[in-house]
C-alpha cells in the first residue's frame, strides 16, 4: 500500500470515528429494555405481577436503568431547592416507585409488540437520546429515552412517549402542587399515591 492509501485510511479512520459516538447509550437502553421485556413476557411472572405479589426482579432492573436522583431533580425543577435534604432523600424513592408503576403499565400494554431501536442522538458529551419504536399491527408508538452518563454508565433520566416527556409532565404536576402546598404536604400526597 502506498502512502496515499495509508493517508486515506487514516483520514477515513479519523472522520468516521468521530460521529460514531460509541453506541454505548443505545446498548445500555437496549439491554435494560430487553431485560424488562423478558421478565414481562414470562407468563408465570405476569400472573404474579397482575396480583402485585412480586416486583423485585423488575425493580432491580429499574435501579440499574434509571438515575433516580436525576429524575427527581428534573421532575421537581426549581422546587428541588426548596426541599430540605431529608425531604429530598424521602422524595427520591417515593417518586421512583410512582415511575416504576407508570413505566410498567406502559410496557405491559405493549409487552407483546416488537421494539425497534432506531438510533441515538448525542445532545451533549454526557447526554444522549435513544429513539425506539414499538410496532404493532395497528399502530406505531415512538418512545425516546434520554440518558445521562454518570460514573461511567448511561442511565435514563427521561422517557418521551409520542412527544410527551414524562418528566416534564410530572414537573407540571409537582409545580401545581407545590405552589399551593408545602413540601411536606406534597410528600404526603405522593406517599398516598404509591402506598
Amino acid at each position: 500500500m502506498n502512502k496515499k492509501g495509508i493517508f486515506f485510511l487514516l483520514l477515513a479512520y479519523t472522520l468516521f470515528n468521530a460521529p460514531a459516538y460509541g453506541g454505548e447509550p443505545m446498548e445500555s437502553v437496549r439491554t435494560h429494555v430487553e431485560k424488562v421485556l423478558t421478565i414481562l413476557r414470562d407468563p408465570a411472572l405476569k400472573a404474579e405481577l397482575a396480583k402485585g405479589v412480586e416486583q423485585k426482579k423488575i425493580q432491580r432492573v429499574y435501579q440499574e436503568m434509571f438515575d433516580e436522583v436525576e429524575l427527581s431533580k428534573r421532575a421537581l425543577g426549581r422546587h428541588w431547592n426548596t426541599l430540605s435534604r431529608e425531604e429530598r432523600k424521602e422524595f427520591v424513592p417515593l417518586f421512583r416507585r410512582l415511575l416504576e408503576q407508570a413505566y410498567l403499565d406502559k410496557l405491559l400494554a405493549y409487552s407483546n409488540e416488537k421494539v425497534l431501536f432506531d438510533k441515538e442522538i448525542s445532545l451533549s458529551p454526557t447526554i444522549a437520546e435513544v429513539r425506539t419504536r414499538i410496532v404493532s399491527s395497528s399502530q406505531t408508538v415512538f418512545v425516546f429515552y434520554r440518558v445521562i452518563q454518570k460514573k461511567g454508565s448511561w442511565k435514563v433520566y427521561d422517557i418521551i412517549v409520542e412527544n410527551i416527556s414524562l418528566i416534564q409532565n410530572y414537573r407540571s404536576q409537582f409545580n401545581e402542587i407545590l405552589v399551593k402546598n408545602s413540601p411536606s404536604q406534597m410528600l404526603k400526597i405522593l406517599k398516598n399515591k404509591v402506598k
Binding site: V135, K151, N169, S172
Partner: protein, 269 residues
Amino acid sequence: MRSLWINKRTLPLFFCGCMLLLFQNPLFPQSDLSATNNTETMIHPIDEIDEFGDIEEPEEEKDSSLTISDPLEPLNRAVFCFNDKLYLYLLRPISKGYAFIVPKPARKSTKNFFHNIAFPVRFINNLFQANLHGAAIELGRFTVNTFFGFAGLIDLSSRPDINLPKQHTDFGDTLGTYGIKEGIFLNLPILGPSTVRSAVGTAGDFFLHPISLLNSERAIVGVKTYEKTNEVSLTPGEYESFKKASLDPYTAMKNGYIQYRQPKRHIQE
C-alpha cells in the same frame, strides 16, 4: 504525485489535524475544557459529588413554550370531572361489552376504516400548510388502503415494506402555521382537552370530513360515538393507568395535551 499528499512539510499539520479531530470526539469528553455541570462527574472522584445538593439550572426555562394560559381552570376542572364520570359509567362499560362481542381484528379494521375516510381532513390541511410531502404521502396512503386494503379496512401503507407513515394534521395546525396563537386552554365536555384555536380547527375540520355529508344530526352523533367506543375498546385500561400514574390528573392531561400538540421532533428531522 505521492509527495503531494504527505511530505515533510505537511506531516505535522496532518498530525495536528488528527489530534484536533480526536479531541473533539465526544468519546473523550474529559478534553472538553468548557466542561458543564454534567461533565464534572467525570473529572472529580465519585464521592465528592453531592447528589442531593442544590441545582443551579432548573429545567423550567425550557418549559416556557409549553405554558398555555388557563383562566377557566375551575370550569375546566369541573368538565374534567364530568368527562371522567362519563368515561367511567358510560364509555368504559359500553366499550367493554363491545369488545366482548366484536373480536379484536374486526375492531382494528374498524379503526383503520375510520382513519381512512378522514383522509380529506389530513390531505387538505397538509395542502393548506404547503406541506406537499405530507399531502403526497396521505394521497398515497389513501389510494393504497382504499384500493388494496379493502376500502381502508387494512392499513397496508403502514407496513414496513410500503412505509407510508400517517401524517397527522388538522385545521388547528393550519391556523398555527398562519401565525394564529393557541389562545386559552379549554377542556370541552365529551371532546376533552383543546385550545381556542384547536376548537375552531375541529369545527373547520368537520366540514372536510365525509361525516358532514350525513344529513341527520343523530346519525352524525351516532357514528362519532361508535368511532370513539371502538377506539377505547382497543386501548383498554389506558385511561386508568394514566390516572393511576398522575398526582394531579387534570394538570397531567393539560400538560400532556400541550406537549403532544408541539411539533413532532422525529418528523421534523
